[in-house]
């Protein structure tokens, strides 16, 4: 069966496009709704959004491939993104990444076997004064130490 929004999400979709002066301006919020609903933006999701937005799938695909927060492939339940840019690097971002790799026993870009965690590095997240830091899904975790990271990982099921 082809992908489609649940009635609740479809209502949100309609409310979203109604907010904007032109429908195409709602592309990013609609893609975010789709990612939340379907977990990632694979080919089927892209075709569905294209149909909803009245745009060619190629254009939607072009948007998805441009933005780092839009995932063309599935990610774990907890998507860990470590900031690697200079201010964080000066305060131990590389050590943080090594610790996470070792603890989770995965490399960057991989997901743990149980689908719990995905690990990657990202560029500056505007949290330079509280480095090193990582983002997990929507939440920022700052001023990290190995002990704090261990606690955080244990709290995420």
């Amino acid at each position: 069966m082809a992908l489609e929004f649940s009635p609740e999400t479809y209502k949100k979709f309609e409310e979203t496009i109604a907010r904007y002066p032109k429908k195409e301006a709602a592309m990013l919020p609609v893609l975010c709704l789709a990612q939340k609903e379907f977990g990632y933006l694979g080919q089927e999701a892209i075709e569905y959004v294209a149909q909803l937005m009245g745009q060619p799938p190629a254009r939607v695909q072009g948007v998805v491939s441009f933005y780092t927060m839009l995932n063309p492939k599935p990610v774990g339940r907890h998507n860990i993104q470590v900031c690697r840019t200079l201010p964080c690097a000066l305060r131990g971002a590389e050590k943080l990444t090594s610790f996470l790799k070792k603890t989770l026993d995965i490399e960057l870009g991989q997901t743990t076997g149980d689908g719990r965690f995905t690990l990657s590095e990202v560029e500056c997240l505007a949290s330079c004064g509280t480095a090193p830091m990582m983002q997990i899904n929507d939440d920022y975790y700052e001023n990290l130490t190995d002990e704090k990271v261990t606690e955080i990982l244990a709290s995420l099921k």
Partner: protein, 423 residues
């Protein structure tokens, strides 16, 4: 110095409308919408000397005045909250702790250009801040500050909080507008400028969060009070976000023209652990690094930092002590730009990756004696040859690291290893 931008930051529940109003919030908006003409407002902001705080420092009132008054098209005001410049986290603080100041500033700017739809484009990663702003917009709407016939003035405006989805380039104003049009965040050639051909080809003004958040204070206290602070050409106060090897990282509000060395040593507590300062990037990762000997006479204002060979930019101050490997630091930033180049212009798309590869091989002990000249050559060929300032932003710091720490780069190449190790 009286705080303009951080005046509410430490007040408990400063994000709530009731608290913001108890501190004088929305009085400026009431005054503007009920008693000021748009031209009068533009003149007031011109007189204040306020310049854009996103990095370019363009006079705000002048930017507004470029919007045609007789255009039959809708006009748009966009608050640029896509804060992504390495070392910069000031707008995030403002939005999370004092969101109504950003909203009030957005309303004032929208009124100045007579826009009836305003957007706050916030980077998608700042989900918490976006939620805080959305609640602030809802509160302000319920209180009658946003919507139709605001406070009986006959003026209507809607404010939409729009979340980005992860792309540094969207902080560049024309890229931001491409993104808001629902496409890839590709910059556009200027001219035409957004003031005449912006969002959907309509007159548009894009202002940074910090710029807008200064407006309520300026209206409340008057342009003269704002212009009385700072230097002749850099008026008022500015936020500085300090990171890296510094005792007290954080966001500071300073009167423009404050001595740089005093700021680092006294306000920020200096470099910790008894180490020495090796270099400072004064205005975010796109700006040339300065050596300690170049800081002596520098004051924190646009002109003084420029005279020292860098730029004030976003005010993102990145401090590096003597344990920092400058090759690794340069490579780190080159990697940032290679990752973030939007791919439209060949010199930037190819050049950023080329520079990143050369820096990396030097860092890994596989550099060649001709590599430094090669990076300078690539950097020189990017400068000025791209449609947006991103190319220059990638090229300038790369060249500055080599020119200012040449011996360290040469030693790295000769010894085929790093002689300083970052933590």
């Amino acid at each position: 110095m009286e705080k303009v931008l951080l005046r509410n930051i430490d007040v408990p529940d400063s994000h709530a409308l009731a608290v913001y109003r108890s501190r004088g919030g929305y009085r400026a908006w009431e005054k503007v919408v009920q008693s000021m003409k748009p031209e009068q407002l533009i003149e007031e902001v011109k007189a204040s000397g306020l310049r854009g705080r996103g990095g370019a420092g363009f006079p705000t009132g002048m930017k507004w005045s470029f919007v045609p008054k007789d255009s039959p098209k809708p006009k748009y005001l966009v608050c640029n909250a896509d804060e992504s410049e390495p070392g910069t986290f000031k707008d995030r603080l403002l939005m999370e702790k004092d969101p109504h100041a950003t909203v009030e500033g957005t309303l004032i700017a929208a009124y100045a250009i007579q826009s009836h739809t305003a957007f706050i484009y916030i980077r998608g990663e700042l989900a918490f801040g976006a939620g805080v702003l959305e609640r602030a917009v809802d509160e302000a709407t319920q209180a009658g500050y946003i919507g139709r016939n605001i406070l009986g003035s006959g003026y209507d405006v809607d404010v939409i909080v729009h979340r980005g989805a992860g792309a540094y380039i969207c902080g560049e104003e024309t890229a931001l507008l491409s993104s808001l049009e629902g496409g890839r965040g590709w910059p556009k050639l200027k001219p035409p400028f957004p003031a005449t051909h912006g969002l959907f080809g309509c007159p548009t003004v894009v202002n940074n969060v910090e710029t807008l958040a200064a407006l309520p204070w300026i209206i409340e206290h008057g342009a003269a009070a704002y212009a009385a602070m700072g230097t002749e050409k850099s008026k008022g106060t500015k936020l500085f976000s300090v990171s890296g090897h510094i005792s007290k990282p954080g966001v500071y509000e300073l009167e423009m023209g404050y001595p740089f060395v005093k700021f680092l040593d006294e306000d920020c507590g200096g470099v910790p652990n008894g180490r020495k300062l090796k270099g400072v990037i004064p205005g975010g990762g796109s700006m040339p690094v300065l050596r300690p000997d170049e800081l002596e006479k520098v004051n924190l204002d646009y002109e003084s930092v420029q005279a020292a060979g860098s730029l004030l930019g976003s005010g993102g101050v990145i401090v590096m002590d003597d344990t920092t490997c400058m090759v690794r630091a340069a490579w780190n930033l080159a990697r940032f730009f290679a990752h973030e180049s939007c791919g439209q212009c060949s010199p930037c798309r190819e050049g950023c990756h080329w520079m990143e590869k050369i820096f990396r091989r030097i860092e890994q002990g596989e550099g060649d004696k001709d590599d430094l000249g090669l990076i300078l050559n690539v950097s020189g060929n990017i400068m000025g040859n791209t449609i947006c300032p991103f190319g220059d932003a990638a090229a300038m710091p790369a060249a500055a690291f080599i020119k200012k720490y040449r011996e360290e780069f040469e030693e790295h190449i000769a010894q085929k290893r790093c002689t300083v190790r970052m933590e």
